[in-house]
Symmetry: C2
Subunit: 488 residues, 2 copies
């Protein structure tokens, strides 16, 4: 089997064999949330995508330092360095101190990520926690001649930069394209060129989040935090930088420029971007009425939702598509994902109960190779899931006596499911998330009572049990090896 | 009933009527954890103590801004400005970046606080996130003439300070006492006097957590973070500062000195300190083998523990003592607390099922007044709990037909329990924390099956149910209004 991981690099527009800078170590930086609103699908997708990358790299014996930031200042309402700070605006509207907003939505974000079974990153730095590092970087870019100061703000001089380094290499926009796109906004700007971007902004009198700097009171440009924090925790050059595709321009393009302008070093070897999400075929937006936050998915409270969907259904649905494909959320698609997930989860349980035979009628090695090949091919989770469904077919055939595995093959099949389904794809039982040990223990008793009732031909009681459990969403399955239960 | 809250103020050594600086608003700062180890009882006690203060002030219609910090740098191993940074040392031992240590133990701390049902504070600032603010404060103290610079470090000049402000007012130590206590450590010190303390420390070459400053690369003195962050989020003078009694000297004494030296303003109106914890009569310490972390209490895995204790048992045990009394943890005392908590919790459930009569034989108003009086008397939770046990007696007497309440009194009794037991003391059902809706629904079915079995004189089945539930820690209670269940 191929042990080499291939990653599609947005920078080179091709899959490349992954080679880490330091042997057996990976430095990975992923853009985290700007914490001024409820976590939604736009947070779930990169959260889950890079959680699987993190898990697979760890499984591949790398020591991974996974850094994901919290943007708690500096992210303005639009990308052309104009408008209010998103967090400060929310604070003004809710009459709270900005850091109260940050605290509230950071907690919501962490809660949502935990529900989706995303592992916490190794380090979770905050923009406001690294103002000094950002100021130092701005000073160095100024020293290197790639920025200019005007009215207390500092801008990266993109034309000057472009003389030495190719601007736009990540997004494929050249400087003329960029000029074209921004000209309309440019009338009253103090910038030399509309392609220039702020690396430090002067604080207007009404701007409440501000810090002293060599250029007066102000705040860092939004792109600067990721450059400063990735350098601090991963070094001037590191392995993987991830984020949503909407961040390619201007955010990540600016990070490359800042890295080159500060350290004469392209900061990242592999750029990875997850594709976007639509809801019922449309871009998600508050004005369209299709903006559904994660909590609403989990409890089914949004008008557009026919029912609640568990965090694992959302996770499964997202991983059923490759991270570079778009994903469209609809009730129909989610209900299909729910069925698929349940099928896999039930097979996991069946696998725990089936017995070994003397001979194997199925080639477990090939299944394992296929699973690794899928993950090594740019983390192709939909293909991996398809292979696991092959495994499900075999598991159910063994249960029905149509196929068999010997003891060591059965062990290997269990290991494959534990490794890929649980450890790498990060799925956990909905029972586990909504239920617990006590439920399992009490259900054991209920199944025993039902067995006794059937033995003594007390069908009223047996029916009562089945019907009452049915009402609360529990289904009983009778098999060769006894009865079991599962959530419908 | 008295509506005025009295608070014991460590500064004045007496109870004072609480009056907030801004009408209907309270600013409260509580010292949070230095995140370099597993959360333990020393975290649980201030967490729970000030959670109840926060809850009661909110219940009393104050808008409370509750700030609790995370110390992620600057806290050295001993209080005399010597030794390694606690987090950096842990990072060196575990071969991790300090911020990986911070992330790991911050998550553990949050998880433990959530288990104990402590509400998150309004803002949770970090020392490393406020280096600029700390440097500004050091600069101002220098300008004001209360500090001196030596070899790249800045020290608060306590003798100079003492000429204008009384040093030691909080701890009751005068400057001679302080000199006495520290003389032994003083041989190689660069300080002018051994009572002086660092407000900025030069970073030795091996010190990895460092920031540029006007005095060279270094890091803030530990006491400085709380001064800078409380000023930033609560103002130069705010209402309440809380923490463990071990922080009175030198930490809080230093905060008062820093506030005066910087702003000519005593920063805090009411200083509140929770008393210390012992385990089996001894101070908790790793060398004594009685250092039990919270996770070990929750799962019973420590040798000294006879069993696991739920987070609510720990919470109840801590609140059964007044926060200014010492608390000694032992298996015997915890098991008594467990019984007491279960008794209250069961009464809460009974209260939901009892029916109103035409007449009341019990004065519910007096109970309510007593509960408020207890909380208003310096948050006297043990007295409050004693009053709630009076309520339990009445609830059980009503169930047994010996007392009665009319409809409006019954409503009021329910309100008292909801307010004081749930909202203010913050107790939740152990069922709720270890169980869930599905367990409740399945248990309903089990109780129904048992009822049917008894009706049809199938005592084997009825006994089987009782015995099997007993094994998994569920106890069935038969009452006038039907059967119910509870965790033992």
């Amino acid at each position: 089997m191929s042990k080499k991981i291939q990653i599609y690099n947005t920078l080179t527009r091709q899959k490349e064999v992954f080679k880490s800078i330091v042997k057996n170590h990976v430095g990975m930086y992923v853009c985290g949330p700007t914490v001024y609103g409820d976590p939604h699908l736009g947070h779930a997708r990169p959260g889950i995508t890079f959680d699987v990358v993190f898990r697979y790299l760890k499984h591949s014996n790398y020591t991974v330092r996974y850094v994901r930031n919290i943007t708690d200042a500096g992210h303005l309402e639009n990308d052309s360095d104009e408008g209010e700070d998103k967090i400060a605006k929310k604070a003004r509207l809710e009459q709270l101190e900005p850091m109260e907003i940050v605290q509230f939505y950071t907690i919501s974000y962490h809660k949502a990520m935990a529900s989706l079974n995303c592992l916490p990153p190794s380090i979770e730095p905050r923009a406001t926690g690294h103002i000094i590092e950002q100021i130092k970087m701005v000073e160095k870019i100024l020293e290197n001649g790639f920025a200019y100061t005007i009215n207390g703000s500092v801008y990266l001089d993109v034309n000057k930069y472009n003389e030495k380094y190719p601007y736009g290499s990540l997004s494929g926009r050249n400087i003329e394209d960029a000029l074209e796109g921004t000209r309309a906004l440019d009338r009253q700007s103090e910038k030399k060129s509309s392609v220039d971007f702020a690396i430090w902004k002067k604080a207007n009198p009404e701007h409440i989040m501000r810090w002293p700097s060599p250029w007066g009171n102000g705040f860092p440009g939004w792109h600067m935090e990721c450059s400063a924090m990735s350098e601090k925790y991963l070094g001037k050059k590191f392995d993987i930088h991830g984020g949503g595709m909407d961040l390619v321009f201007p955010h990540h393009e600016a990070e490359i420029a800042q890295g080159n302008a500060c350290n004469d070093c392209n900061p990242v070897n592999y750029w990875m971007h997850n594709n976007m999400i639509t809801v019922d075929g449309k871009k998600m937006g508050k004005s369209l009425g299709n903006f559904i936050n994660l909590e609403e998915f989990f409890n089914g409270s949004h008008d557009k939702l026919e029912k609640a969907y568990t965090p694992m259904t959302i996770r499964f649905f997202i991983l059923q598509a490759h991270y570079r494909s778009t994903v469209d959320f609809s009730n129909e698609a989610l209900q299909a994902a729910e069925k698929g997930f349940t099928k896999l989860m039930n097979a996991m349980e069946t696998l725990g109960n089936i017995l070994a035979s003397d001979i194997s009628t199925y080639d477990v090695n090939t299944l394992q190779e296929n699973c690794y090949a899928a993950m090594n091919d740019d983390f192709n989770t939909p293909i991996l899931i398809a292979h696991l469904f092959d495994g499900v077919r075999i598991i159910n055939s063994i249960k029905d006596g149509k196929e068999s595995l010997n003891a060591s093959d059965l062990e290997q099949l269990k290991k494959i499911f534990n490794t890929f389904f649980t450890e790498i794809l990060g799925f956990i039982s909905n029972k586990g998330s909504s239920g617990n040990d006590l439920t399992n223990e009490v259900m054991e008793l209920v199944l025993q009572l039902r067995g006794n009732a059937k033995k003594s031909k007390d069908f009223d009681t047996a029916d009562l049990i089945r019907n009452e459990l049915d009402k609360v969403g529990v289904q009983i399955k009778d098999g060769r090896e006894g009865s079991s239960w599962e959530l419908k």
